[in-house]
């Protein structure tokens, strides 16, 4: 077990290294070099740019050196928590991102929890009452949920709440709290604003999990040990929850691995539509302004986050199901 964990963590480190290369590539992608764009921008903002400042910037990013060394410099800075400076905001990227990242994590994890809280009971119900009217309703709703992209759902929900209820949904905080420091009142305000984003982000995942759970539970319920248990006169609840549900939950846990990146991705788009103060809108604006240190760092952080989640889910899976061998082959 320990051997497996260590190996997974080493693999994770390698992945993060590759990820940093990709992120740096993204920073380098747009035409024109960073320094001239930055100087141009500062001039546009009416700031004076003297030689000393240029030299300080060159030194910080190693811009006078070859690309490979620039990468090493950037990566070294990253390890020390320095992700560069955003010229669009004229702020350190780290300061800009931290609070938004915390909100992104909160929303992603909360949606993930919501997905399971909704999907597991519905999936179990659908499997125990297959082809019942409720099952059909869930199946159809699931199909539509899978087919509707998150951001369109957000748009449609916004439209409906606006026209029918007169609410203007959007944002995570009321106007009074946006600039306030964190307080109990602000947390309560946040909780009030969370449901719509969570529902929107969670739909596709919920639909998928219901489908997987229904399928695997139906398979389990048809097996002989269930018939035996029923023949022995066990109560239905015991029959259901003692083994089949536990077994059927397995593929569900392994889906966290790809559900989490999907949720983070969906969250990015939904945030843009609902204008949530998370990473998404910031990333979009950074990309539009070609503020590449900001954009690259955000891609790096979001992907790293998803990878970390995948690692945690794999470790969870191994600890829940003793049958899974700690081999790479077993995961393929």
């Amino acid at each position: 077990m320990l051997h497996y964990i260590v190996r997974r963590i080493i693999f994770m480190a390698v992945l993060l290294l590759v990820l940093s290369l990709v992120s740096f590539l993204i920073i380098q992608l747009p035409p024109g070099d960073y320094l001239s764009t930055m100087i141009q921008n500062m001039r546009n903002l009416g700031m004076t740019v003297d030689d000393e400042m240029i030299r300080a910037l060159e030194d910080r990013y190693g811009l006078d050196k070859p690309v490979m060394l620039q990468y090493l410099k950037w990566f070294g800075n990253l390890l020390q928590g320095d992700m560069g400076r955003s010229f669009q905001w004229n702020e350190e990227v780290t300061d800009l991102i931290l609070e938004r990242l915390a909100l992104t994590v909160t929303i992603s994890v909360a949606s993930l929890i919501l997905v399971y809280v909704l999907a597991v009971p519905i999936g179990i119900y659908s499997a125990t009452h297959p082809y019942s009217p409720a099952d059909y309703v869930f199946t159809v709703a699931g199909f539509i949920g899978l087919a509707t992209p998150n951001f369109l759902l957000a748009l449609i929900l916004m439209y409906l709440t606006f026209t029918h209820l007169g609410w203007s949904v959007g944002g995570l905080f009321s106007r009074d709290y946006v600039l306030e420091p964190w307080s109990i009142g602000k947390v309560i305000d946040l909780l009030k604003h969370l449901p719509i984003p969570l529902i929107v982000i969670g739909t596709a995942g919920t639909a998928e999990i219901i489908r997987i759970l229904r399928g695997s539970l139906l398979d389990e319920l048809a097996k002989q040990y269930v018939i035996t248990a029923r023949a022995k006169g066990l109560r239905e609840g015991v029959i259901l929850f003692k083994y089949p549900v536990r077994l059927a939950l397995n593929p569900i846990i392994s889906t966290i691995g790809y559900l989490l990146p999907a949720i983070v991705a969906g969250e990015t788009l939904v945030s843009i539509v609902l204008s949530l103060p998370t990473i998404g809108p910031l990333l979009l604006r950074a990309l539009q302004a070609q503020d590449m240190y900001l954009a690259g760092s955000m891609v790096m952080l979001l992907s790293g986050l998803a990878m970390l989640g995948t690692l945690v889910s794999d470790l969870m899976l191994v600890s829940i199901d003793p049958r899974i061998r700690f081999e790479n082959e077993a995961r393929a």
């Binding site: 992945l15 590759v18 990820l19 990709v22 993204i26 992608l29 747009p30 035409p31 199909f143 539509i144 899978l146 087919a147 509707t148 992209p149 951001f151 369109l152 748009l155 449609i156 916004m158 439209y159 606006f162 026209t163 203007s168 959007g170 691995g257 790809y258 990146p261 999907a262 983070v264 991705a265 969906g266 990015t268 788009l269 843009i272 539509v273 990473i279 990333l283 979009l284 990309l287 539009q288 070609q290 954009a295 690259g296 955000m298 891609v299 979001l302 992907s303 998803a306 990878m307 995948t310 790479n328 393929a332």
Partner: protein, 392 residues
């Protein structure tokens, strides 16, 4: 088979018997079994697929949507880029059958354009005096038929100064219906092109990974794991934003497709690898290898057809992801850009809730996206059930 039937019929050479010979009799269980064993796997697949109602429904609708897209010019009523400055945000025109309570051939009323006294937004009202019958197969603006030749023939239209905006008009007074049709060409073809690229990559890398194993397998599998653990949208956004703005539309279109396929091939590669690992140890593959067939022939002639049906399933389920990806990127403004028309580009106008609340028809492209994706999912689901026709 025929000899058996004539034996059955022999004892009763009456009219009834003749009748039975003329129309094929209900096949006996034996015959049905025999037919089942004689049928090719594709026949079985087709038969099973046709039993899957939703899948048939989905594929028929898809066929219709693709036909509409291919012949967008013929079905559209106005040029995609033609602006009607005095018909901004005009609501969908209702095609009517009754005038003053009496049945009439299909017609539309003329539009009176007024101004809202406070907001100065255009207000539209039916002018019941003016009647423009809907005419079929009329000549209108010129368009190219699949890029081959020009035509001016359209399915329907009304005489000027009447207009028939089936889905209303957008902020520049362009006909939404015609734009949805011509946007379908981009949105739907990006799915197909992207899947083609993923298909080639997936078969190649998955095949190498599964057939040769060892180090190649290790490397490809790690790449796949890496790509699958990335959140797609931020990565796509970053890559799409790096596409230079001054490129010609066709090149941007192609780049976006490539970006979308970058992650899409991984799922396919996994399927290919798994199936190859499974089939590689079959006797017939061994026999081919012993008979001296080159590796290329073993892969393409013996292994690939063995799981082609699974690939078809996977592709059908992969197309909607590409369509959704394009729509999402274009919607937030870093995918395709105007003047290119795609469903995502059209939805850019629907970003503002207040605009949408006043002009809900701007959301019509979204309905098309959802419906198309839904149909692909139905069709794919049906195909998945029939992918292995010998499985009971």
């Amino acid at each position: 088979m025929s000899s058996r039937r004539s034996q059955d019929d022999a004892p009763a050479p009456t009219g009834i018997a003749r009748y039975r010979i003329e129309t094929p009799a209900e096949p006996s269980a034996d015959e049905r079994g025999e037919r089942y064993y004689m049928a090719s796997s594709w026949t079985l697949i087709r038969r099973r697929f046709l039993k899957h109602r939703l899948a048939v429904f989905g594929s028929v609708i898809l066929l219709i949507i693709y036909l509409l897209a291919a012949f967008a010019g013929f079905f559209s009523v106005a040029d995609t880029y033609e602006r009607h400055p005095d018909h901004l945000f005009a609501p969908p025109t209702r095609v009517r059958l009754f005038h003053d309570g009496r049945l009439h051939r299909p017609f539309v009323y003329g539009l009176n354009v007024g101004r809202h006294p406070e907001t100065l937004a255009p207000v539209y009202e039916d002018d019941r005096e003016q009647i423009f019958p809907v005419r079929f197969l009329v000549h209108g603006h010129e368009y190219r038929v699949i890029g081959l030749f020009s035509s001016t023939l359209h399915l329907l239209g009304v005489d000027r100064p009447g207009y028939v905006f089936l889905f209303g008009t957008d902020s520049l007074g362009r006909d939404m219906f015609s734009r949805v049709l011509s946007g379908a060409r981009i949105s739907l073809s990006i799915g197909l092109l992207g899947v083609t690229i993923s298909f080639v990559l997936g078969c190649l890398l998955g095949g190498v990974s599964g057939y040769f194993g060892g180090a190649a397998d290790m490397v490809v599998q790690r790449i796949i794991e890496f790509l699958q653990s990335l959140p797609t949208i931020p990565l796509w956004m970053a890559l799409a934003a790096a596409v230079p703005l001054n490129w010609p539309p066709l090149r941007i279109y192609f780049m976006i497709t490539v970006i979308l396929s970058l992650v899409g091939w991984t799922g396919l590669a996994r399927v290919v690898r798994g199936k190859i690992l499974q089939l590689r140890v079959e006797d017939y593959v061994m026999a081919a290898a012993v008979a001296g067939a080159p590796e290329r022939a073993i892969i393409f002639r013996h292994l690939l057809p063995g799981f082609m049906s699974y690939l078809v399933v996977h592709i059908t389920l992969a197309v909607p992801y590409m369509i959704l990806g394009e729509t999402a990127l274009s919607f937030i403004g870093i995918g395709l850009r105007p003047p290119v028309v795609s469903w995502g580009v059209m939805l850019q106008q629907a970003q503002n809730v207040r605009t949408v609340a006043l002009h809900p028809w701007l959301l019509i492209p979204a309905l098309f996206v959802v419906f198309t994706v839904l149909c692909f999912n139905f069709a794919g689901d049906g195909l998945r059930d029939v992918a292995d026709p010998y499985k009971q």
